[in-house]
């Protein structure tokens, strides 16, 4: 089959690879119809996530049709149209039973690698480095899906690929970012980063009852999309974010601050240059501009919700602000399997049409071009969907 493979830093290529096969009794094989490039794929593309190997198939947002099932699969059958969550979860361990699917205890066969970096291992993830399992990703014609009865859910007839696809990652991720803010009526939520995850966080915050959402980015087209959802916007290159947020929130600060940026934040001024230099010298693995701002601007006793991806260590972390002001920090890779049914229902009720964020539809063969324009934000790129 054809698949988009990581061949090195800033080098992806669509090449021929073997077809996936059933390896375990709970596996299913899915013929992929639509797959997307995620902002977190850009961290891999830019070489910031360790333990990638030349030839790794990328992609963790995909959907398609079941073409083969293992002998223990009960809920899915050949011909079902499904969307697949990006974290791989067994459904049987204590974490899964607690609905913390993205920290499944059984799905990462390379858990020891993750334990070295993080202490304990989270779940395996499709196409996202060897320390997260070394699973082939979904930017391909076919994918093997382990624990097929736990992850994938069926897509109802009449729902388009573009409406269902983002249940695999960015909709639940943005939604969990808002959910973790424990939003109460009257709350103001600030969202750093108006990429696709930020856009879903903005919309989710409103769904969960936020009075106001303030969106922070530097790209006009992204801020425009945030405005369309009802958010007020700040261009951090134009205004002092701290002053502006203070002004807008009556001197209190937002009740919840969502970091939808992650490890490659574009920093400004001295702090931005400092992070870039330290990351380049491998003195810190992740750049932290957005997270620092989210912390410093959150109201006393408020919640900082981190859904942007971080890989390792950060520097100049304002712990004093967190402790002395009673902040709560909540973080995590989205527990997609938990949110999928809830969000599928919201889509079916017409509360949201996730296809709003698609700006580019291409063939799988054009994946390298898709990465390039997404990375460089060319052509007002928001979300690239690849079709097989």
């Amino acid at each position: 089959m054809r698949a988009n493979c990581w061949m090195g830093k800033n080098d992806v290529r669509v090449v021929d690879v073997p077809d996936p096969k059933i390896l375990n009794p709970h596996d299913a094989i899915v013929r992929i119809t639509s797959t997307a490039i995620c902002g977190s794929d850009l961290h891999l593309y830019n070489g910031f996530i360790p333990t990638m190997e030349k030839g790794d198939i990328l992609g963790h947002e995909f959907m398609g049709e079941v073409v083969e099932v293992g002998r223990e699969v009960r809920k899915l059958k050949v011909g079902d149209r499904v969307v697949v969550p990006f974290p791989i979860a067994c459904g049987k361990c204590l974490s899964c039973e607690s609905h913390l699917f993205s920290v499944c205890e059984n799905s990462n066969p390379n858990a020891w690698m993750a334990e070295k970096l993080w202490g304990y291992s989270p779940a395996g993830i499709f196409g996202y480095s060897h320390m997260l399992g070394g699973y082939a990703g979904g930017q391909a014609e076919y994918a093997r899906v382990p624990y097929a009865d736990v992850g994938p859910i069926k897509v109802p007839d009449g729902m388009s690929d573009e409406q269902a696809l983002f249940l695999s990652d960015i909709f639940p991720t943005g939604y969990m970012g808002a959910d973790n803010c424990n939003i109460k009526p009257g709350d103001t939520i600030a969202v750093w980063g108006c990429g696709p995850v930020g856009q879903f966080a903005i919309r989710s915050a409103f769904m969960l009852g936020a009075e106001r959402v303030i969106a922070i980015d530097r790209f006009a087209y992204r801020l425009r999309m945030a405005e369309e959802a009802g958010a007020e916007t700040l261009d951090y290159e134009e205004v002092d974010v701290h002053d502006a947020l203070k002004e807008m929130t009556g001197g209190r600060g937002p009740d919840g601050c969502i970091d939808a940026v992650g490890m490659e934040a574009h920093g400004l001024g001295l702090a931005g240059a400092y992070d870039r230099a330290k990351q380049a010298l491998s003195l810190e693995t992740d750049r932290t501009f957005a997270l620092r701002q989210a912390i410093m601007n959150c109201r006393n006793g408020g919640t900082v919700s981190v859904i942007g991806v971080y890989g390792g260590f950060i520097d100049k972390f304002p712990m004093g602000s967190v402790v002395n002001r009673s902040l709560t920090i909540k973080a995590g890779q989205a527990h997609v399997q938990h949110y999928m049914p809830i969000l599928m229902e919201r889509i079916q009720k017409g509360e949201i049409d996730p296809s709003f964020c698609v700006t580019h539809t291409m063939r799988l063969e054009d994946a390298p071009k898709g990465y390039d324009i997404f990375l460089n934000k060319q052509d007002e790129c928001m979300k690239v969907v690849l079709k097989t």
Binding site: A3, C5, V17, P18, D19, P20, K21, L23, N24, P25, H26, E53, K54, G55, D56, I57, E72, C90, G91, K92, C93, L94, E97, E105, N106, S107, N108, P109, N110, A111, W112, G124, G127, H130, G133, G134, Y135, A136, G137, R144, P146, Y147
Partner: protein
């Protein structure tokens, strides 16, 4: 794992009875199996300690003279090096004489000796050096190195014996250090591993799975097959170092249903080994804590164990991975496989070929 280990240590300190071995070799066995006879490590250490301090004092008092004695010119660089060497000699001498971890200090001396040998060898290349004197110094240091190694080894084995004997005589009053020695070094095996995992299944179920020894190869990666001979005896086949095949008969030495299972190899085994596994209900009904203790001596003994460690994963890591597989099998019914688990070390994250699946499936 460091966190886990320290927790175990503190438990031992608070309540030695709580973690007293339920099975496997008892502490009395440990003391009995210890090689007996005079070894004299402590007397030798005392002599070396005082010698070290004397030499160090001389080097610090007259660094230039000392430098010339061993055949280097005694310039200001040589003086500084000599001062540093002298100070190190004094420190290691004091350390060896101290009662705390003399074997550790003796090994530190061996490290210092290696440094001195390197320095002297480097000095040989210098055109200003007196090669004859240097050669003499080299020979002397080499001799001292040999003596240090011998002494360190003796101290170590005496320490273990003392620790085991102490533990055997008065389990209540044994010191933390003695306890750790016993925990770390059961008697005659080259490799000892203790690992733990929590499995989200009732302990009856996990015990029953383990008690049917034929299931062990499902999660123990080195085992090819286990056949039961009768209720207590079984025949084990495994892959040894370098793909060799090894086999042995084993017998169950203790069997407390749903609680504990202990076994050991019978005389004449290719791989002399023993082990036990304990099943405890996790607090709050959160499944079962499975603790495993394995001891074995690889075919080439201690040297084999060291070589295996150098060229492969550590035994700790191997057993941890095996326990992870046990958890996967018990909780999900299958061993987790990704594309990268096929092929050799670094298979990319893309589907394995049929041939790779056949070779590694």
């Amino acid at each position: 794992m460091a966190i886990q280990d320290s927790r175990q240590d503190s438990r031992i300190e608070r309540n030695p009875e709580a973690t007293a071995r339920p099975a496997g070799p008892s502490t009395r066995d440990l003391a009995r199996h210890r090689p007996q006879g005079p070894t004299g490590g402590e007397g030798l250490a005392k002599a070396i300690g005082w010698f070290s301090i004397g030499l160090g004092l001389a080097a610090v008092a007259a660094p230039r003279g000392m430098a010339r004695t061993i055949g280097v010119p005694g310039g200001s660089d040589d003086r500084d090096v000599m001062l540093a060497v002298g100070l190190r000699e004094i420190v290691s001498g004091l350390g060896v004489l101290s009662r705390d971890r003399p074997a550790g200090w003796m090994w530190a001396r061996v490290g210092g000796d290696a440094m001195d040998l390197t320095l002297l060898a480097a000095a040989m290349a210098s055109e200003h050096a007196d090669r004859n004197r240097l050669a003499g110094a080299l020979a002397a240091v080499a001799g001292i190195t040999a003596l240090d190694i011998l002494c360190a080894q003796r101290l170590e084995s005496e320490g273990i014996a003392a620790g085991a004997a102490e533990a055997a005589q008065s389990p209540r009053s044994r010191s933390r250090r003695a306890a750790r020695r016993e925990e770390d070094r059961p008697h005659r095996y080259a490799v000892q591993v203790r690992r733990v995992i929590t499995i989200n299944r009732p302990r009856e179920e996990i015990y029953a799975f383990w008690r049917d020894l034929r299931n062990l190869p499902r999660f123990m990666s080195h085992l090819e097959a286990v056949e039961t001979i009768d209720d207590r005896r079984s025949h084990w086949r495994a892959t040894g170092p370098g793909g060799t095949s090894v086999a042995w008969d084993a017998e169950i030495t203790e069997d407390r249903p749903n609680e504990l299972l202990a076994w050991r190899s019978m005389p004449g085994a290719d791989v002399d080994n023993a082990g036990w596994v304990r099943f405890e209900a996790a607090p709050g009904g959160r499944g079962t804590v499975v603790r495993v203790d394995l001891h074995y001596t690889p075919p080439a003994g201690r040297v084999g164990a060291m070589v295996a460690k150098l060229f492969g994963r550590s035994p700790d890591q191997e057993v941890q991975e095996d326990l992870r597989k046990l958890k996967q099998v018990m909780e999900t019914g299958e061993v987790t496989k990704s594309d990268a688990t096929f092929g050799r070390l670094r298979h990319p994250g893309q589907p394995p070929t049929r041939a790779e699946i056949e070779a590694h499936g």
